[in-house]
């Protein structure tokens, strides 16, 4: 038993659920929101901060309007996911983890989105695109640049 009495732990999964909610609302984890989460859940701030920095899903930087995840899972890797990334980097002028100057796109890599049979794959916001070739990237990106986001037109 520790010297300083501890509050009971929160319900199972409560901290992760809260972090997801903050990240979804703000696009990243603002400091004051983490402090409030610690307070309200009765969890030490150090634990909240540890979890926030441990998981790949959370960011401490604001994101662009659209987040592009280039999949580098095994199947995508051996079927050209890196080339896709390279083309994307040269087209947008950013490296993974960075956001374009106009704030439109943030580029990230991800270790598999589980669409391996469609490799190589990339995900823009919630939409997954499979069987991609580097040459169709500009067309795909244009749709997100012109529309506010999302696309209802057919895939690729």
């Amino acid at each position: 038993m520790p010297l300083i009495p501890q509050p009971p732990p929160p319900a199972g999964g409560a901290l992760l659920t809260r972090l997801h909610a903050i990240n979804a609302e703000h696009g990243y984890l603002p400091e004051e929101e983490l402090r409030r989460a610690a307070e309200e859940l009765g969890v030490p701030l150090s634990q909240v901060y540890s979890a926030a920095t441990f998981y790949a899903a959370f960011s401490f930087q604001p994101r662009g309007r659209h987040t592009i995840h280039v999949c580098l899972g095994t199947a995508c890797y051996i079927r050209g996911g890196e080339k896709l990334l390279e083309k994307l980097e040269s087209t947008l002028g950013v490296r993974p983890g960075e956001t374009t100057d106009d704030g439109t796109f943030t580029v990230e890599t991800v270790h598999c989105v589980g669409s391996c049979s469609m490799s190589p794959v990339m995900r823009v916001d919630g939409d997954t695109y499979g069987r991609l070739k580097a040459d169709i990237l500009p067309r795909l990106l244009r749709r997100y640049q012109t529309e506010a986001g999302g696309m209802s037109d057919e895939g690729t």
């Binding site: 999964g13 989105v113 589980g114 669409s115 391996c116 209802s152």
Partner: protein, 626 residues
């Protein structure tokens, strides 16, 4: 409506049958992530809009994944009283044509892949109309679907359709007719082993946990499928969530737990959505909550969404993640079955394990044990991907050979290229060479060969895949995913990555190979958890079977597969180049120049050797100089 008894289940079943087999035209679109990734949403919209425009009476349904991902988007057309027809690689345009034809009372043959008979056809009979039956296609003929039994065939949002296919029958049988001990005995006798990869007997795990006289207990469904190259669990959660929920409730009943958790990987938003909906629906119907089916048994499920940490697939890390801490493993023993979530007895089962449980309860242990081999009963699901002709999700009886899978079902290498190796078990597994393809698939054979069964990822590699680069890829993965708690995994993966990077850069030495092996063995033996203990497998297996490729890199500074950038050069064969300019436009480095219709050239100073030009050249004029 509330389902409080078996007869209420019957009512639900009738409702499900009416939507599964309606007396009007029904079109189902496979809309799991794979389908969506290739434009299924646009196909769905086109079908809906065109049918409305033509005033065609149509029941349009979004189903899950049939597994034949190579052929996505897949559309199934069912006319009353006729065998449904499955269309492959449907586009929005083709969808509109389909509706136009149906409005005229016709069924186009173009793009039709197979029929899906609703009655079991007589043996040896040929289907009418010239189309093969789905289960006669080489991709399906050797499959035996248990885990994937409903995937792509029912609307995952409809609990009624799940019930119509026999769902929740096992739950009723377990809760109303069997004692927890009888349930455990059935699973034990069936010989079901954990489908997360380790293969521990599921019934035994339940037995150990049930025997611990501590309450409360917990049961957790591990849906943190982190292996790159694998998506079996995603498919089941997206396409048939109720099978997992039913399995979880039965597991809870067996061990005496009243609270379950489903931990779903963050990168699977659709799975999270579908399983959340399914749990809510089960709660509405009273299939979760108090006094389920009037049995007196209470059970609830909480869904926890992961946050992007591969290590959380390790059971103790997953527990610590649910508890609200880091995804950090702790030493075993004690095993979770004795001391798990908040120190209480906890059973953790994989998605596929749980999805299998209801079938075992319904059809019996003897039936299940008769499939597969003696020590490896039942079926196993693989995601067959990479450089293989037919990619997709396949479920086969254990004991089939790797060759049956890769050449028979997979149809061999992509574009007719020779298959060199197969990687099973993701970052914890190994690369097995083609000469071992006659190995029967079992937990033991794969482990002896230096790989593991794992959760079911099966990535096929051909002559254009560099095995040293593959080893570097996997170690890069585990290095990035190591939690950093124990020294061997944290420091060792980092150092192995350094060596492999050196070798692929053409700066490695023969001594590096020895050092690599020494460190790999240490990480394997001395690491705290499964992640570290298996992380060296891709290195050790490639060193064992593809040492010649390592030696070519360190001795001759040559990459035989033509992958490692520092060891290759790209050039354009002027006699073949027609000057179309495609490579020039696509080169991300701006390294290619040339006049229209004149042979182009690559500036080696600017070239990053990404090989996009090699891929896009329509006449094969780009050459990789190794």
């Amino acid at each position: 409506m509330k389902v409080r008894s078996r007869s209420d289940l019957e009512t639900l079943r009738a409702e499900g049958l009416s939507t599964l087999y309606p007396s009007r035209l029904k079109i189902s679109v496979g809309m799991a992530t794979c389908g969506l990734a290739t434009g299924a949403a646009a196909v769905y919209d086109a079908l809906r809009d065109e049918a409305a425009r033509r005033d065609l009476d149509l029941m349009l349904v979004a189903t899950g994944c049939l597994g034949y991902c190579q052929q996505e988007p897949l559309v199934e057309v069912r006319r009353p009283g006729r065998d449904p027809v499955l269309y492959a690689r449907v586009t929005a345009d083709r969808a509109r044509e389909l509706i136009a034809a149906l409005a005229e009372g016709e069924l186009p043959t173009e793009g039709a892949l197979a029929i899906i008979p609703e009655e079991k056809p007589p043996a040896g009979s040929k289907p009418a109309g010239g189309l093969p039956r789905l289960n006669d296609l080489p991709f399906y003929s050797r499959q035996h679907k248990i885990v994937l039994r409903h995937c792509g065939l029912i609307d995952p949002a409809s609990v009624a359709e799940y019930v119509a296919q026999g769902g929740y029958e096992a739950l009723a049988h377990a809760l109303l007719d069997l004692t927890p001990e009888q349930v455990i005995d059935e699973v034990l006798r069936a010989g079901l082993r954990g489908r997360g990869g380790a293969g521990f007997p599921t019934g035994r795990k339940w037995q150990i946990c049930q025997a611990v006289p501590i309450q409360p207990k917990y049961v957790i469904c591990n849906g943190d499928e982190g292996d790159p190259g694998a998506y079996m669990d995603r498919t089941v959660l997206e396409s048939d969530p109720h099978s997992v929920i039913e399995g979880l409730i039965i597991a809870g009943y067996a061990i005496g737990a009243h609270q379950g958790y489903i931990y779903v990987r963050d990168e699977y938003p659709l799975a999270v959505e579908r399983v959340t909906q399914a749990v809510a629906r089960a709660e509405e119907l009273g299939l979760l909550g108090e006094n389920i089916l009037g049995s007196g048994f209470d059970f609830n499920i909480t869904i926890v969404r992961g946050a992007g940490a591969f290590v959380c697939g390790e059971e103790t890390a997953l527990i610590s993640s649910i508890e609200g801490g880091l995804g950090e493993p702790r030493p075993k023993p004690p095993f979770p079955a004795v001391s798990g979530l908040w120190g209480k007895p906890t059973v953790i089962n994989n998605v596929k394990t749980l999805a299998t449980v209801p079938v075992i309860i319904t059809r019996g242990a003897d039936w299940y044990a008769s499939i597969g081999t003696e020590q490896n009963a039942g079926t196993v699901v693989f995601s067959l991907v990479g450089k293989v002709a037919n990619t997709g999700l396949v479920e086969v009886p254990l004991g089939l050979t790797l060759r049956d899978l890769i050449e028979g079902i997979g149809g061999g290498g992509l574009n007719g290229k020779a298959v060199k190796a197969v990687q099973t078990g993701g970052p914890s597994g190994g690369c097995l060479p083609a000469r071992l393809f006659d190995l029967p698939i079992s937990y033991e054979t794969l482990t002896q060969a230096g790989s593991i069964m794992g959760s079911g990822g099966m990535v096929v590699m051909d002559e254009d895949t560099c095995m040293v680069d593959v080893a570097r890829y996997f170690i890069g993965f585990t290095m990035a995913e190591s939690c950093g708690k124990c020294a061997p995994c944290r420091e060792g993966t980092q150092y192995m990555h350094q060596i492999l990077t050196r070798i692929t850069a053409g700066e490695g030495s023969v001594e590096d190979l020895e050092l690599l092996e020494e460190v790999a063995l240490w990480v394997k033996k001395a690491s705290l958890c499964g992640l570290g203990q298996t992380a060296p497998n891709p290195v050790l297996s490639t060193l064992r079977y593809f040492r010649d490729e390592y030696e070519a890199h360190v001795k001759e500074k040559r990459c035989p597969a033509g992958v490692c950038r520092a060891l290759i050069r790209l050039s354009i064969l002027s006699e073949l180049c027609n000057g179309c300019g495609l490579c020039r436009r696509e080169c991300p480095a701006g390294a290619i120049s040339g006049e229209k219709k004149q042979p182009h050239t690559i500036n080696p100073e600017l070239c990053t050797r990404c090989r996009i030009c090699y891929d896009v050249c329509p006449v094969g004029a780009v050459e990789i100089v190794r």
